[in-house]
């Protein structure tokens, strides 16, 4: 190779190397997402798969060093609570969901969402009682998958309840247990979100954790 050619080659290689390094750094930042948690198998009698979630008022420094006082969902994986909002469920099957609700109520901005839609039977079971809707001012969070038509409002722990949870994971503190099931169809990635203005300190209650993937929003990967 001639001198010019060698110089040119060296320059191209250097520029490419620097570009690749910078690109890798930014790409790593851009692609960081919460881990995908696969729904566990449900007990043989009900069939389908089981998803166990909990909602907490403040996630705590252990699960989120940068935002310890944000509300968040957690999911149970192999007996431990993990902060992730990407759940994998099988296609064309029934998904049973159990949510342990540890947060207090904030009320809905649009009371329309206080009615359950899209679940098996069109109902949810709150602390053993089956219901079609909850009082809108009692809503603490919702679990809504718009593309699948699943709308489930989650009532909150009463304000004067004793023994409320401070930081995740919450065990044995005041909570409400909500169960429901929904059917999945085709494969795809379906987003889910909370619709209650539960982000304290943000305008309309919709900033912060409500807008950050991995707290109050996620994906249902139907595979």
């Amino acid at each position: 190779m001639s001198n010019t050619g060698r110089k040119l080659f060296g320059v191209i290689a250097a520029v490419a190397a620097v570009g690749v390094l910078i690109g890798l750094y930014v790409a790593t930042w851009a692609t960081s997402q919460p881990a995908i948690v696969v729904a566990s198998a449900a007990p043989p009698s009900s069939g389908g798969s089981q998803l166990t979630l909990e909602t907490v008022a403040a996630i705590g420094p252990k699960y989120s060093p940068s935002h310890p006082d944000w509300v968040s969902y957690l999911v149970r994986r192999n007996g431990k609570w993990v902060r992730s909002t990407v759940y994998q469920v099988p296609a064309n099957s029934v998904v049973h969901v159990t949510i342990y609700q540890y947060d207090g109520d904030s009320g809905l901005r649009n009371p329309f969402l206080s009615q359950v839609q899209g679940t098996v039977g069109g109902t949810e079971t709150v602390d053993g009682k089956t219901t079609r809707a909850i009082p809108p001012e009692e809503a603490s969070h919702t679990f809504i998958i718009p593309q699948l038509g699943v709308f489930v409002p989650l009532p909150g722990v009463a304000e004067e309840a004793k023994n409320q949870c401070e930081f995740a994971p919450c065990e044995g503190t005041a909570h409400r247990t909500i169960t429901f099931s929904f059917r999945t169809g085709k494969k795809g990635k379906y987003r889910w979100q909370c619709f209650v203005p539960c982000a304290a300190g943000f305008i309309d209650g919709f900033g912060g954790p409500m807008q950050t993937f991995g707290y109050m929003d996620g994906f249902i990967n139907v595979v």
């Binding site: 649009n110 329309f112 969402l113 009615q115 718009p146 987003r191 305008i203 409500m210």
Partner: protein, 276 residues
């Protein structure tokens, strides 16, 4: 003379190309232009787009053909250092250009204004006080935009709120678009309508669907993390199917309708400032 040759040649090429392109644009491309013919508003926009395209085509051809002509015909010979003619302007040509472009532009503006008002806003959001309102009965539908889904209220059916939009064919619909948090935009593509949803504002669109079909609904104003996923499909159905559907929705959503606030043009639900 060499000078006339260039001008005449160029104008000839341009005229021929325009005369070939214009009918193609108007008659072949025009009818298939977006957004389609599913509503009176969409058809109106197709016509307007055809007119605009027809006016733009000769202008585009003029400059592009000129560029090619100049690049081919007026070159510096290889290694040459010749100079061109020292012409600094031509008053007649400049005046002609100014007059022609002004006439073109002003007539386009007039045309646009006429089409806008004739079309009762031509599918765009007119704000709370539209200038021209279509006569006759109009089905009132309210589109409530929130982060991150659209819901729809039908005030003449008990104020029921639904998650899907269905409209009866052949009837003028008066859509009231509003938001309860940030700025969204309700865009029903095949119907050719779009209106921003501003909090505290009632934005009115008039639309008359003319064919029974499914239309895409997108949010067209960045509203947060799920902006791109705030989409849905709406349906235009026959009058009978619409009545069946709305009554079924009323029955199904009876629990929700009980707790809804009374129908209003805008809503300001709590919390509005910092959630405590």
């Amino acid at each position: 003379m060499a000078e006339t040759n260039h001008a005449r040649r160029f104008v000839t090429i341009w005229l021929v190309c325009s005369l070939v392109a214009l009918p193609l644009v108007i008659f072949v491309l025009g009818p298939i232009l977006p957004p389609g013919k599913a509503s009176a508003e969409a058809s109106g926009q197709v016509t307007d787009n055809t007119v605009l395209l027809a006016m733009a085509t000769p202008v585009l051809l003029l400059v592009v053909i000129y560029l090619f002509y100049a690049i081919i015909a007026f070159r510096q010979p290889k290694g040459g250092v010749l100079e061109g003619p020292a012409v600094r302007g031509d008053a007649r040509l400049q005046t002609a250009w100014i007059v022609i472009t002004s006439v073109l532009v002003l007539s386009l503006a007039a045309y646009g204004t006429i089409r806008l008002e004739q079309g009762y806003g031509a599918g765009s959001g007119n704000g709370p006080t539209p200038l021209v309102v279509p006569k006759g009965p109009k089905l009132q539908v309210q589109v409530i935009a929130q982060q991150w889904a659209f819901t729809y209220r039908y005030p003449s059916y008990g104020g029921v709120e639904t998650t899907h939009l269905e409209l009866p064919v052949g009837q003028t619909v008066e859509l009231h678009v509003t938001s309860i948090d940030v700025i969204h935009s309700f865009w029903a593509y095949q119907l050719g309508i779009k209106a921003d949803a501003n909090p505290g504002v009632d934005n009115i669109i008039f639309v008359k669907p003319t064919t029974e079909e499914t239309f895409e609904i997108h949010c067209a104003e960045l509203c947060g993390v799920w902006h791109g996923y705030m989409y849905d499909h709406g349906h235009v159905v026959s009058q009978g199917a619409f009545e069946t559907w709305i009554h079924q929705q009323q029955a199904y959503f009876a629990p929700a309708t009980k707790v809804l606030p009374p129908y209003a043009k805008t809503y300001t639900p709590e919390p509005t400032r910092r959630a405590e």
